[in-house]
Amino acid sequence: MEFAELIKTPRVDNVVLHRPFYPAVEGTLCLTGHHLILSSRQDNTEELWLLHSNIDAIDKRFVGPLGTIIIKCKDFRIIQLDIPGMEECLNIASSIEALSTLDSITLMYPFFYRPMFEVIEDGWHSFLPEQEFELYSSAISEWRLSYVNKEFSVCPSYPPAVIVPKAIDDDALRKVATFRHGGRFPVLSYYHKKNGMVIMRSGQPLTGTNGRRCKEDEKLINATLRAGKRGYIIDTRPLNIAQQARAKGGGFEQEAHYPQWRRIHKSIDRYHILQESLIKLVESCNDQTQNMDRWLSKLEASNWLTHIKEILTTACLAAQCLDREGASILIHGTEGTDSTLQVTSLAQIILEPRSRTIRGFEALIEREWLQAGHPFQQRCAQSAYCNSKQKWESPVFLLFLDCVWQILRQFPCSFEFNENFLIMLFEHAYASQFGTFLGNNESERCKLKLQQKTMSLWSWVNRPSELSKFTNPLFEANNLVIWPSVAPQSLQLWEGKSCILCKPIIDSPGCCLDCLWVQEYVYTAVYIRYYLKIRRYITSFYCDKNTKFTNVILNCTQRWSSISRCCETVSRALLRVT
């Protein structure tokens, strides 16, 4: 086993663990291939299990013979270990460093993880493109599922099956692919059933400085428009950046060649700008300063909320074009794998009621992020504490989740899931025992044989026992378009995520507000209602001896018992909290 070589000291006794807002714990530290474990070896005490892949950075300090390792995690936690003995400390530190930066994906924990739960539904097959397409098929006569990318030869970052206009054959698609960045030809992202308008996404057109054009591309894009209709192309880059891109072979659609389309430029930042923003944000959150002005100026300087606002505004704009203007849109940035996906997926949250359900949201992540080729491996390699400035890391997905949270805050009854669901997705995107977020695109995932070798996150999440943690008790299906406010006064800092360190606040009942306390009220209401119903049947029985009475009452009591079981779990959970 390779790991054994990296672990010089597998076990150290008398290690003291310090976590902010928790009492210090003394215990035994163990290193395994994938975990750092600290156990006080007493009953009833929680053990710390930390995935090596969750470690973002570590610091060492020595005071005499006592060594201290400060571990900064990708989920923003900071923990401190006091290790007696210089040598042990150095060994542990170097082992952690090596184990947390393994090069080979196949050595990652998901390939070793054996689930302890029964798999009811294999998450790898939960959201197949064919099924997703079927949801639309009743309304779509102009679209088809194309397997042109079956071998990942046309576009390496696309999945094997994509939805394209019916009028365009596979040969044309191959030609269009050569005209678009990364081979990402325009594909369907969302079909708005209300008026048949669509959102498409792609990479930038490779017009270059000499204004190259591609007849098939123009034909493809125009094929999505109905007669006499106009469309909008939303470029997530500002105009000057798009113009500069021409020098590198990229570019944007010229009006002359796409007369039915209007181009709109927005400015959503990418890559290191976002990464730096996150680093500054987490730094200011960790600064437990009492100084109000310093906090506000740091929050402002991080620009995090500005990014949120920019992304939300663009998504609202896209949704507005579709729903209000009745116009189809094409969205792209440079590669079409980051800001493009933020906009397309958020527009769907705003427009499509299904994407606000748990299953629908999972399908959205699967379709618009995983299948659409957002390079999770690259983007989530490091988090807020990394010092090495590599170009590819960026909290693009986290920003998306934060935007969803902002909408959730404004429409607390329109989402089937709660804040915990979003936090869970964030944690698993950065470090997980599941294979879902490994790899950068479908092609890589196929090569890694993730489906055979690892477990899908959805297999775990979609079990009733897990789902209950992520369900919003106030959810009420709402078929309307939800328009969030993007005014700065309406945007908030997402503490649950950003301030994971400030445990006391999270533990304060305020955070239970959206969950347990509400559940109590809801279930009492449901409970009483069913009780009432039974009572009513009994009354009517005494009134006119309904023959079907037994069936009804049976049905009713069954439902009642399931409700009362719910009540029990809630009350137990309540007890735990209080």
Partner: protein, 659 residues
């Protein structure tokens, strides 16, 4: 009425405050003796009380008419466009007159008539009884007694008649101390903590700058200290920032007369000496310049604490800056936060909160009595004393208790509501959002401790509404003496009974009284816990609010549960009835038949009940997925189309122009 020249103007436009595309509603503007009323084409009414108007501004004439901008004290801002300049001018002049009354007798409260008889009105005023409240705290007792020194307002005009002082403090001591304190506001009891035997006392600043020391005052402080057998030292909190105290005294002329005494007296308390050595040196140096706080050497067993809450003028301009930032159209995130920072508003809120926390800790953790003062002891002192008591005593976190707290620490101890809220046309420099800050601090606490308060945000907002509305007598006048002279109890109504009648609206559904028993709140004051209070400063800007409110839903659900429980009881009693009838029925067929005709009637009542429940049902949630969810949002959908997020449409407009 003599100020009103035009009572009705048609075709007036109401502009959307944050829309850059000049979106507007057209309607009719009415001017009544008490309100300005705008009714738009959808018959939606906007009422603005004249007393709520903080400023009226007539802007330069435009092609569409004459713009009139009205800013209200409850942070509503409306922007009208009146088609004819003449009408605009008339309304402008009328509003200027009507919003600034010269006499108390012209305030709304003196004409407001809620159709109650005299007995009801009197009962309303007697709802809050402060003597009862002191009894609840456990005074008078062996250490504290009711003093009749101020019975005729002879010692201090701005204090109430009934004051509680240490039992060992004799009248000459009180009189002597009051002469040494600014405006005669000598140290008196504000809150007594029964189990810790510690007290919160309040007063104004000492006039030590003139006479250097006052033995009676020193005696009174000793008496307060001795009234607490649990602890031999006490705190004196000066809520002012130290540099302010210095500059205030620097303006006094008789500095030269001050004898500087640098005493060699050895401090009794070794601990203080060590920790406060530096502070002590500092204080000595300051005293050399003749500062207005207690000479520490003259007061033994006293620990001095400065907390930096700024004065009313700083607070006023801070709020002004905050409102300017918020009113900006198309505000960017960065401008918002830098504006929030430069306004300093949250910093001031935090300063008040920090002071209250210090106070609560001194009592809860050290059982030490605390004497709080600022300059005059009616602004910052009120904030700190009331917030401190709120942290210590769960009673003040109930609806009734909160009313008592306001009556006690604000109204009776002479917070100058009329001057601070600008009820009359007076000195604008006396206006300051001191009470608003107190409410905001309470709101921050409700955010951190959602289960600790019986009331919700709406309650705080409603109180804020009424301190400016002058609809009720409670907040009119600057002190009790003035209120008695105005005969408010005979001529006006008290706000509290009206709030209690509407209690349902103000209940916090998450409140749990059991878990709060004797719990001292210990708020976390890390900076990021202080947030901008959107629902206060943008109460009337609906587009900025969350579109669905969890609070309302839980409240409705709670209501509904109660109704359902009642139904169950009804049904159960019916079943019992039926059962007895049925057993009878077995005996006699005729009887059974006689039951039958009843059944449709029963069903009818049942279905009626079901229907009665249904509307609530729709508002709440669909449990069985049967009711059409769309009903609930039809009005929302409407609103969306009217009030699209302003910024989005702005962006859209810009984007289209660049195409």
């Amino acid at each position: 009425m003599e100020h009103i020249r035009t009572t009705k103007v048609e075709q007036v436009k109401l502009l959307d405050r944050f829309s850059t595309s000049n979106k507007s509603l057209t309607g009719t503007l009415y001017l009544t003796a008490t309100h300005l009323l705008f009714i738009d084409a959808h018959q939606k009414e906007t009422w603005i009380l004249h007393h709520h108007i903080a400023s009226v501004e007539k802007l330069a004439l435009t092609t569409s008419g004459c713009p009139l901008v009205i800013q209200c004290k409850n942070f509503r801002t409306v922007h009208f466009i009146v088609p004819r300049e003449r009408d605009c001018h008339d309304i402008y002049n009328s509003l200027l007159q009507l919003s600034k009354q010269a006499k108390y007798e012209d305030l709304y409260a003196f004409s407001y008539n809620p159709k109650q008889n005299d007995a009801e009105r009197l009962r309303g005023w007697e709802l809050i009884d402060l003597a009862e409240e002191y009894k609840r705290m456990g005074v008078p007792n062996s250490n504290w007694q009711l003093s009749d020194a101020n019975r005729e307002y002879k010692i201090c005009e701005t204090y109430p008649r009934e004051l509680y002082v240490p039992r060992i403090a004799s009248k000459p001591i009180i009189v002597g101390s009051s002469k040494f304190r600014s405006k005669g506001r000598f140290p008196v009891l504000s809150y007594y903590h029964q189990s810790k035997e510690a007290a919160i006392c309040r007063c104004s600043q000492p006039l030590s700058g003139f006479s250097a020391r006052c033995l009676e005052d020193e005696h009174l402080l000793q008496a307060i200290s001795k009234a607490n057998p649990a602890n031999r030292y006490m705190y004196v909190m000066d809520t002012r920032p130290r540099h302010r105290v210095q500059s205030w005294w620097a303006t006094q002329k008789d500095i030269g007369r001050i004898i500087v005494r640098i005493s060699s007296k050895i401090w009794n308390d070794e601990k203080i000496r060590e920790s406060d050595e530096k502070k002590r040196l500092n204080a000595m140096a300051n005293r050399a310049a003749g500062k207005g706080y207690e000479n520490e050497d003259n007061y033994s067993n006293i620990r001095f604490q400065f907390v930096g809450i700024e004065n009313i003028h700083v607070m006023r301009s801070s709020l002004q800056k905050l409102l300017e930032v918020n009113g900006t159209k198309g505000l960017s995130v960065n401008d918002f936060y830098s504006g929030l920072e430069s306004s300093g508003w949250l910093r001031h809120i935090k300063a008040v909160m920090d002071a209250a926390i210090f106070l609560a800790k001194a009592i809860a953790a050290e059982s030490a009595s605390v004497l709080v003062h600022c300059s005059d002891g009616w602004d910052r002192t009120s904030q700190v004393c009331s917030l401190g008591s709120l942290l210590l005593d769960p009673y003040y976190r109930t609806i009734r208790g909160f009313m008592v707290l306001i009556e006690k620490d604000w109204i009776s101890f002479g917070h100058k509501f009329s001057e601070r809220c600008g009820h009359l046309d007076g000195d604008p420099k006396e206006v300051s959002p001191v009470f608003t800050q107190f409410l905001e601090c309470v709101w921050h606490l409700t955010e951190q401790f959602p289960q600790a308060f019986e009331f919700n945000e709406a309650f705080l907002l409603q109180i804020h509404e009424h301190i400016h509305s002058c609809q009720f007598g409670n907040f009119i006048g600057n002190c009790q003496k003035e209120r008695e002279e105005l005969k408010l109890k005979e001529k006006t109504y008290s706000l509290w009974p009206f709030l209690l009648d509407d209690q349902k609206k103000y209940l916090n559904p998450l409140y749990s009284s059991q878990s709060q028993k004797s719990a001292v709140l210990e708020p976390n004051t890390v900076s990021f816990n202080f947030k901008f209070w959107r629902n206060m400063y943008h109460q009337f800007d609906r587009t900025l609010h969350p579109r669905q409110s969890v609070f309302n839903i839980i409240m409705n659900m709670n209501e509904q549960n109660k109704q359902l429980e009642k139904d169950i009881k009804d049904l159960e009693s019916q079943i019992k009835q039926r059962k007895t009838k049925q057993t009878d029925g077995i005996l006699s067929k005729e009887l059974l038949n006689s039951v039958r005709p009843e059944s449709p009637a029963l069903k009818a009542t049942l279905s009626l009940k079901e229907q009665a429940l249904l509307p609530v049902n729709n508002v709440l949630r669909t449990i069985e997925g049967s009711s059409p969810a769309a009903n609930r949002y039809s009005e929302y959908a409407d609103e969306f189309s009217k009030a699209e997020p302003a910024v989005v449409s702005l962006e859209y407009g810009v984007a289209r122009m660049t195409c």
